[in-house]
Amino acid sequence: MAETNGFVVAAYIVMWVGLIGYGVRLHLVFREARRRLDDASREGRKA
C-alpha cells in the first residue's frame, strides 16, 4: 500500500510545479509586455 502513496505525492507535485511554473512564466511575460508598452508609448510621445 505504501508504494502507491509515492504516486499520489508525485501527482500533487506535478500539479503544483505545473501551475506555479506557468504562473511565474506568465508573470515574466506580463512584466516584459508592460515594459515594452511603456517604451513604445514614450517613443510615441517623442515622435
Binding site: E3, A11, V14, L26, F30, S41
Partner: protein
C-alpha cells in the same frame, strides 16, 4: 471586413488604461485550490484496494475539465473574431489556447501517473486519456501555426479557422476513440463513486476553474499590451511620414 487599424489602437489603449488589477483573483484561486485539495485528501476514505490512489483524481479530473473549458473558450473567441473582426477576440483565443494546452499536458501526465500503479503501465488507451492526447496535438498544431505566421491579420484569420475546426472535432474524436476501445477491452471506470468523492472532485474543479480564468485573463492582458506596443510603434512611423 477590413478593420481600421487606428480604431483598433484606440480600442486597445482605452481598455489597457481602464485595466483594474486582478491579482486578487489569483490569490483567491490559489487559496481555494489549497483548501479543496486538503479537504479532498484529508477526509476521503482510503479505498479498499486502491489505497490513496484515488486522491490523484482530485488533480487529474479537474485538469481535464478545465482543459475542455479552455478549448471551448478558444472556439467561441475564434467564432467571434471571424464574425466581428475585432483583434481582442483573436488575443482571447490565443491566450485560452495556451492555457488550455498547459492543462491538457497536466491531464496527460497525471493520467499516466494514475495509470502506472492501477494498470501497471504508464499509458493505457483509455478513451478519455486518448482523446485528451489527440486534443493536445490539435492545439500544439494551433500554437505552431501561430508561431509560424508573422502578419497579424493572417495569423488571426488562420488560427481562428484552425481553432474552430479543432473544437468541432473534439466530440467526434471522443466518440471514435470510445467505440474503438469498447471493441477491444471493457472500458475501465474509476472506483465506486460515493458522494464524498464527487464533492471533492467538484470543489477542486471550481478551484482550478478560478485559476484558469485568472491565467487566461492575465495572458490576454499581456497579449493586449504586446499588440498595443506594436500599434504604437506603427503610429509613430505613421506620424513620422511628413519628416
Amino acid at each position: 471586413m477590413s478593420h481600421a487599424r487606428p480604431l483598433e489602437m484606440e480600442r486597445l489603449s482605452t481598455a489597457v488604461a481602464k485595466e483594474r488589477s486582478i491579482e486578487w483573483l489569483g490569490a483567491i484561486a490559489l487559496l481555494a485550490l489549497i483548501g479543496a485539495q486538503l479537504a479532498g485528501v484529508l477526509n476521503s476514505p482510503p479505498d479498499r484496494d486502491m489505497g490513496h490512489l484515488q486522491k490523484i483524481m482530485y488533480v487529474h479530473v479537474p485538469s481535464a475539465w478545465n482543459a475542455f473549458i479552455a478549448f471551448f473558450v478558444v472556439a467561441i473567441a475564434s467564432l467571434l473574431y471571424l464574425w466581428k473582426g475585432k483583434e481582442q477576440y483573436d488575443l482571447v483565443a490565443a491566450s485560452a489556447a495556451e492555457v488550455g494546452t498547459l492543462f491538457t499536458g497536466l491531464t496527460l501526465v497525471l493520467g499516466s501517473i494514475w495509470g502506472r500503479p492501477t494498470w501497471g503501465v504508464w499509458w493505457t488507451w483509455d478513451p478519455r486519456l486518448t482523446s485528451t492526447a489527440v486534443l493536445f496535438l490539435v492545439f500544439v498544431g494551433y500554437l505552431a501555426l501561430r508561431s509560424f505566421v508573422e502578419d497579424a491579420d493572417r495569423r488571426a484569420q488562420w488560427s481562428a479557422a484552425v481553432g474552430l475546426l479543432g473544437a468541432l472535432n473534439v466530440p467526434i474524436v471522443y466518440m471514435s476513440v470510445k467505440w474503438w476501445r469498447t471493441l477491444h477491452q471493457m472500458q475501465s471506470n474509476p472506483s465506486t463513486v460515493d458522494p464524498e468523492y464527487v464533492i471533492g472532485l467538484r470543489t477542486n474543479g471550481i478551484a482550478v476553474l478560478l485559476l484558469l480564468i485568472y491565467f487566461i485573463v492575465k495572458r490576454y492582458r499581456a497579449a493586449r499590451m504586446e499588440r498595443l506596443s506594436e500599434h504604437l510603434a506603427e503610429s509613430a512611423a505613421l506620424e513620422g511620414r511628413r519628416a
